[in-house]
Amino acid sequence: MKMSPDFHWDTLARNTATRLKRGASHANGKVVAAENIAALLHAVIESGDRVCVEGNNQKHADFLASALSKMDANLVHDLHIIQSNLALASHLDVFERGVASRLDFCYSGDQGVRLARLIKAGKINVGAIHTYLELYGRYFMDLTPRVSLIAAQSADANGNLYTGPNTEDTPAVAEGTAFKNGIIIAQVNEIVDTVPRVDVPGDWVSYVVQAPKPHYIEPIFTRDPAQITETQILMAMMVIKGLYAPYQVTRLNHGIGFDTAAIELILPTYAESLGLRGKICNYMTVNPCPTLIPAIESGFVKGIHCAGSELGMEEYVRARPDVFFNGPDGSMRSNRVFCQIAGHYSDLFIGSTLQVDTQGNSSTATLNRITGFGGAPNFGSESRARRHVSYPWLKAGEESAQATGSTMPRGRKLVVQMVESFREKMSPTFTEKLDAWQLMEDLSLELPPVMVYGDDVTQIVTEEGIAHLHKCSNPQEREQAVRGVAGFTAVGLKRDQRAVDNLRDRGVIQRPEDIGVDVSLATRDLLAAKSMKDLVRWSGNLYQPPNRFRNW
């Protein structure tokens, strides 16, 4: 049956117009004074609205998030918050104070313990925990924001926004909101006559407000080389000699822990000594981690697309436009969506995790704490829609097919988990059963929160060796391959030594000596930079580390 002729097809637009009319008295054109923000939010947000609070890895709309959390819950309540990253106390205050009640999100990091508590207390009704790409996708399906609170570096009076290098989620949020008649309120560090470049066009933006303090940015990807251990260096050597070299990995995504930082820091020394410059690690999708500087400067890494920026790297990135994606104004533009897509279709993902079970499933979930997923599952999963070929992809595919007996020629993405068998305080990384199962029960989730599924993993690298899981032909073999590199953990001690020896003979398990890695060379002397100061030197003083990382 066709809708009646007097059915309204523009309810959203008309409702938005009413809201903007209410908001007009609290703004001067598009510009809102900081002290009027509470009044504006009460004017344009209605109970039950889906509100997107821009929460990235780095940049946070902290001023707006705080104002939202302080709204009068008698007037506005039951908001549905859709937000990629919960990082600030105010992101949860909004629930504790009864302004919001429903949440869809990706990652919660430091707020994980409090989040779990609020869920148990019934203060938060969680729709789902997503990966980044899933949540962005839902902005354009069933989770379109009614109001979005975003952050940018600067704005002009017409609402044109410049995000600076931390563009991150802003384009996805803005597009999903603006083209469904939603309202965008942007907090900016400064209002200027002309923005250096337009990252979000002004006609998408309803209001801009200059926050009393610049938006909060956390240098979360800075790893001090001084803290890299010999064990991490040993594993990095194994990755380079045992994986990057034989698979000729040129396009890849690195995680952001100390393990991958160790790889980056021995590219100019160890990989160079193996003659691998130009042959591996040419293109990466990763934030501009300072530990990449020596690898860039020595000609290993030629191109990097970033999901976000990193504090202190601005000038260095600006001075390397051939390597990074910089705008006509000279500063970088990041974009988490495109970075995730590029990484998903690259040849290799390598990252760390907290727990691995005997089938190679991994999780960062620990009891009483919900950390969520972020981007690792999108990077760290088989890209089944991939069609273009490359050497590493074909080689991994062929090895997989041999193990399973598949006859359809197909490539495979390399998904590598790099972990020490024990983490600090002797907590074992390997476990018979992931804590995720317990967490599922405790929080009444429908699935255990698994970060990377075992069947997507091709290799596990530990200090004991490399397990090529994609070369295993059945679950029993996979289990022994995992146990065979699980060191002296309980999981490792329960190995069937004959089965493990057999896997080693077949090259499914490789010890350092099997791939010609000399364990005695695994010292900090191998690091191209041993300190933050060394990174600054490599950068020609362009890199300016945040004060907390300095010892000068």
Partner: protein
């Protein structure tokens, strides 16, 4: 603190050339390892003081594995541990063997 004391070996074809010395330092996640020759009928005696309790089995496994790998014999190996992981323990024992081999 917990002190573990046990002997391992003797292993086949023991290397009797390893002398005395110290590697490592007692610091967070690290340990010091003292090698001292002693007449133990080709066995190796481990004396381990550790601040992390409940990993007896792990210590046995790590030390036995290293003793076999490097064919250790006639040594008292005393360890002061401040929470080192087995990876670090193995690394230190390897460094000790490399440094003190031929020390007798």
């Amino acid at each position: 603190m917990q002190t573990l004391e046990f002997e391992v070996g003797p292993c086949a074809n023991p290397d009797r050339s390893i002398g005395s010395g110290l590697v490592g330092v007692v610091g967070s996640g690290n340990l010091e390892v003292l090698f001292e020759p002693a007449d133990l009928n080709d066995k190796v005696k481990f004396v381990i003081a550790t601040s992390v309790h409940g990993f007896d089995e792990t210590w046995h496994a790590v030390t036995r594995s290293c003793a076999e790998r490097y064919r250790l014999a006639n040594l008292v190996i005393t360890i002061n541990d401040a929470g080192a992981t087995p990876a670090v323990v193995s690394l230190r024992l390897m460094q000790a063997v490399e440094e003190f081999r031929g020390g007798l």
